[in-house]
Amino acid sequence: MRRTPFSALLLASLAVLAASCGGSSSNTTTTTGSAQTASCSKATLELTTPGKLTIATDNPSFPPWFIGKKADSPWDPTTTPTKKGYEAGVAYAVAHKLGFTDQDVVWKVQQFTQLFKPGSKPYDFDINQVSYNPKRAKAVGFSNSYYDVEQAVVSYKGSKIANAKSLADLKDAKLGYQIGTTSGDAINDTIKPSQSANVYSDSNAVVAAIKAHQVDGVVVDFPTALYMSAVQVPNGVIVGRLPSTGGKQEHFGLVTSKGSSLVVCLNKALSELRADGTLNQLQQKWIAGGAPVLS
């Protein structure tokens, strides 16, 4: 009986203590201004680090998006910046358009999941083959397309789908894809296989599964398919490209924090790069190759 009021008092005082702690730390408001005009000079941009353009991508970053020191090798964003690969090329081209020099560009490693965590972000934009969709756009900011992407099926010589000529030939295949990619939609909506597809955490696991012959084929975006079939999968083949899901052109966008004022400027830079042929040149340079479209 005597004990209870005391412990209640203790609890109440703890609560007060907790309240006072919470109060002091909850003052940091991080709202990015939206009423900014579209003057996209280096000086007026709202940047994570003033004077620097902080660009994020995952580690490792694979060809043909980023290419490391050796040909066909992935790039580690914590090492010397690479200017080789399509996304590296786009990132630097955008930086130049906004008035930054190569030295002003700072790279930051961000895993896919970190892109959509709530709160402030430690980068200005992320470039990591992120496909736009309306639900995602509720959580982050998206630029317009810097690459219009198609999905493709990768298999190995001798598999039961290596010589598939149509979507119907893929129906009975065991397929796999990497989580967070739209390749899953391509499988479920376009191929509609009889067996449910396997899902992997990262592209290394996708490659491991096809090496272990646990899947007949994997669906990845077409440029990745070029690299995967040529370098990563022994006896790899591209079975073919897939028609776009639901007739909608899929595209990759640069990702910013939600409501970032930078999006306007990124779009301006990208449309200039598209108009002057830079994007096209970069594609010709880094993403070369073809494969039939399956129907």
């Binding site: 609560a15 639900k135 899953g184 899902v199 696991a205 491991a208 599964a209």
Partner: protein
């Protein structure tokens, strides 16, 4: 609560007044915490990212149906773990110099499999073994994923069993042997039954862990509840599906947790009764 003399111990015991005080202090504490969270600057963002009702209702049925695979893996793995682990524990406890290599192997097994991160075991067996392309060896990722869990958890559970076996007083074995039971019979009828009964609560503790670790099998490709949550989360850029998965895993483990509590209470009662006899 009809009998005031038998009020809940958790609520403070005794008269209604302390119950009231307990209720008020609980309200104050949790109310204060809730107020701090809800009034924080980032709360609207966090609420949108983690507690989005539309996302919750959209993902719930999908994740629930994926949970079936977790339960299947768990049930199959549990049976093998119970048997393997007991075998290892008994091997490790074999007396005499002849059995030294056996004891050494059993010890090495528990050391190695408790020491290696489960993720590595799963990758190594799930991707590595099938990649050898040996004929007759299954390449199914579900098979190897479950096998990895059995190997890892057997190491933990073997130690639990061993603790139980060690806790049976040597006089029990001595008495059994003096009655003419062989070493094996003494183990089978005297030592192991007592040992297992004592370690049921920690065993169930490990199985609750196993229920959650079934999610690791997803690394090899099969889509279970956690992976399904991850798929939806990555597609929609929202963390609410993970909250759904958490709710389902809690719903799965709470019955087991209460069952464990009940077993502990029953064991305590039984021992006290024995002491008074």
């Amino acid at each position: 609560m009809n009998d005031p003399g038998r009020a809940s111990r958790i609520l403070g015991g005794g008269a209604g007044r302390s119950t009231a005080i307990a209720s008020v202090s609980t309200l104050v504490v949790f109310g204060a915490i809730a107020l701090i969270v809800v009034n924080s600057a980032g709360w609207p963002d966090v609420k949108e990212a983690f507690f989005n009702w539309d996302e919750f209702t959209y993902s719930f049925p999908k994740i629930l149906s994926a949970l079936k695979l977790n339960i299947e893996i768990f049930l199959v793995a549990e049976v093998f773990i119970l048997v393997f682990a007991l075998a290892i524990a008994i091997l490790r406890g074999l007396p005499g110099p002849v059995f030294f290599p056996v004891r050494l192997l059993a010890t090495a097994y528990t050391d190695v499999f408790r020491g290696i991160p489960t993720i590595l075991v799963i990758y190594l067996l799930g991707f590595g073994v099938p990649a050898l392309q040996l004929s007759g060896v299954p390449s199914s990722e579900l098979f190897w994923g479950t096998a990895s869990l059995v190997l890892v958890y057997s190491a933990y559970v073997a130690e639990v069993y061993r603790a139980g076996i060690d806790s049976v007083h040597p006089s029990q074995d001595a008495a059994a042997r003096s009655l003419g039971l062989t070493r094996a019979q003494s183990l089978r009828f005297v030592v192991v039954p007592q040992a297992v009964r004592r370690v049921v609560p920690p065993l169930l503790n490990d199985f609750i862990g196993l229920q959650k670790d079934t999610a690791l099998v997803a690394l090899l490709g099969p889509v279970e509840a956690f992976r399904e949550a991850q798929i939806i989360s990555a597609a929609d850029f929202n963390f609410t599906p993970y909250v759904v998965a958490a709710v389902l895993f809690i719903a799965l483990t709470i019955p087991l947790a209460r069952f464990t509590d009940w077993l502990i209470a029953r064991e305590r009662k039984r021992r006290l009764a024995g002491g008074l006899r």
